[in-house]
């Protein structure tokens, strides 16, 4: 055998990444895993509980309700934001001075902090002093998001649509802009209708960015916390208590760290699983 000098110093080069990942993902995650199997009453005293919290959680009606609410909310905003975003992107000018105006207008809602969005809509929609609330009630519709579940739901959905449709618009617009002129010219010569152009050129070319848009919007809306917290605090009753809000109630409100940790992990697994399903479904025809 030839003598080979072994030099392990290269490990130092990956060390910063290892440390970073350990501290921002691995350690907190494992702490949560640790909590989820134990009971604590403070003072760093822990009792082993096994799978008790998981079993309780999976049987808990409160968790089921929050999950259903969450799924309903996410499905609703996806069903609105994606088609609406694509429609707006299609309507935006492709060249000329109005392009930047439109882009800035679209980007504005994205730049507003979540809690500000919640506060804005809270005041905007108040039935007694808010512009929107007064207007709707003035039109004869009984609207009060602090007391009526339907009003609260509609307000939450509209707020999210207002805040996040822009993201879909910008991504879809980027996809549209990447289509070479030759495609439109060929379609014109082939006698394609506007619908055919959308169906066979624009939609397939937007597919990748739309996949990203849907994934982002799915994950983000599934973890929504700040806006409904500021707007309704999860109410009236529990009608807008989505998973995150419920989780915070359990963890910080009731200080049940064990059940909260189990819930966090299940929550995380659901997000992961659904993201994977979305991605697989949308990418299944790529590259064949």
């Amino acid at each position: 055998m030839t003598a080979r000098t072994t030099n392990q110093k290269a490990w130092w080069l990956v060390a910063p990444v290892v440390v970073l990942v350990a501290f921002n993902a691995l350690v907190p995650m494992m702490t949560v895993v640790n909590y989820s199997f134990q009971e604590t009453f403070g003072d760093n005293v822990f009792f082993w509980e096994g799978f008790k919290w998981y079993e309780e959680l999976l049987r808990s009606e409160r968790f089921h309700d929050a999950l259903v609410r969450q799924l309903a909310f996410t499905a609703t905003i996806l069903a609105i934001e994606v088609p609406l975003g694509v429609a707006i992107a299609l309507a935006m000018p492709r060249r000329g001075p109005w392009v930047s105006v439109c882009l800035v207008l679209m980007a504005l809602p994205l730049l507003i902090p979540w809690n500000v969005v919640g506060a804005m809509w809270n005041i905007f929609a108040l039935p007694d002093i808010g512009l929107l609330g007064r207007l709707i009630n003035g039109l004869g519709v009984d609207y009060n998001f602090t007391q009526d579940p339907t009003s609260a739901w509609v307000t939450t959905v509209v707020m999210d649509v207002w805040h996040w449709t822009s993201l879909v618009v910008l991504l879809a617009y980027a996809g549209l802009c990447s289509i070479p002129d030759a495609y439109y010219q060929a379609a014109k010569i082939d006698g394609a209708s506007a619908w055919s152009v959308f169906r066979h050129i624009q939609l397939p070319k937007m597919k990748r960015v739309l996949t990203i848009a849907i994934l982002l919007r799915f994950m983000d809306s599934f973890m929504i916390y700040t806006e409904p917290f500021v707007l309704t605090g999860g109410g009236p009753g529990n009608t807008t208590t989505f998973l995150s809000i419920d989780l915070v109630k359990v963890a910080l409100g009731q200080f049940d760290l064990g059940p909260a940790a189990a819930m966090s992990l299940v929550y995380f697994m659901i997000v992961l699983l659904l993201s994977w399903v979305f991605y697989t479904v949308m990418m299944r025809n790529e590259g064949t």
Binding site: P180, A182, Y183, Q185, A186, K188, I189, D190, G191, A192, S193, S196, H200, I201, P204, K205, G287, T288
Partner: protein, 359 residues
Amino acid sequence: MARITLETLRHSYVEKPGSDVDWALASLDLEWTDGGAYALLGPSGCGKTTLLNIISGLLRPTEGRVLFDGTDVTDKDPVDRHVAQVFQFPVVYDTMSVFDNLAFPLRNRGVAEPAVRERVTEVARMLELDGLLARRASGLSADGKQKISLGRGLVRSDVNVVMFDEPLTVIDPHLKWVLRSKLKEVHQRFGNTMIYVTHDQTEALTFADQVVVMLGGRVVQIGTPVDLFEAPRHTFVGHFIGSPGMNILPCAVDAGKVVFDGETVALDSPPRAVPAGTLELGVRPEFVRFAPDGIAVEVVKVDDLGRHQVVEVRRGAHAIKLIAAEGEAIPSERPRIAFDPRRARVYADGWMVEGGASR
């Protein structure tokens, strides 16, 4: 099928064109005969694509008219002009099968399905796509996709003209030959008028019966490949076509004699009067040879290309290229060259002086 006439066509992409540079097409009068195979040749930015898009109706000319068989179609949409256009980059509808791609223009026009099937099968066989009809178009290679683009133009039986905008740019070199001969075959089979835009002279000369050479938004010469080779009307044509291009040398005309660098150059029929403008002598390397009684030069470089040799010689500050036969001895002692008196021409401000040279 149609005869296409372009009447005093001008086009500018600028809102209010002022000076000459604003015009992408300066002024064009052209007639394309029915069933001809034309090449539109010129450097990038000379207006080739603009002209093509005006003929197909994707662009509306700023001035002038486009006539198909004498009918004014200037205001008509591409669909109503019944044209086909193949673009530089292959355009296929990714989500459709090859069959559906080819059927798309027919279905859009409401052709009955049995007729669609028949036409698509025929065109696919012609383009050797018949084994791939069930495949998704997005999975094909670049040349396969370009064949689909071409096929979508050919399936319609009412096509007036098929236009190609540098269609072989993204095709692998060894497939270019295959596709080019396919185009020739298609032309012979269907007899469509075809216009082929390119900046590659080999493509233009092998494809076309007539070559239209453009420069700066103008047509400088229309002719057969032989015309362009033997009698370039403009020094640009001489330089652009041929490999190596034409030698262009400063000259003077004095009392019916053409003088280059102090030496009289014999021409069969030199210009009678002294033409105005900057005078140049143009002669292709093919028509320069070594001759004992010619102009004294020195040899700078010899490139042996196998079938012939390209020799670069120098006379003062002027480089001259000539082509010598394979195995021909290059004189090393006091070489002298002579220009073929039938093929050397005088150019004034770039344009050939008429009546100066005989054909």
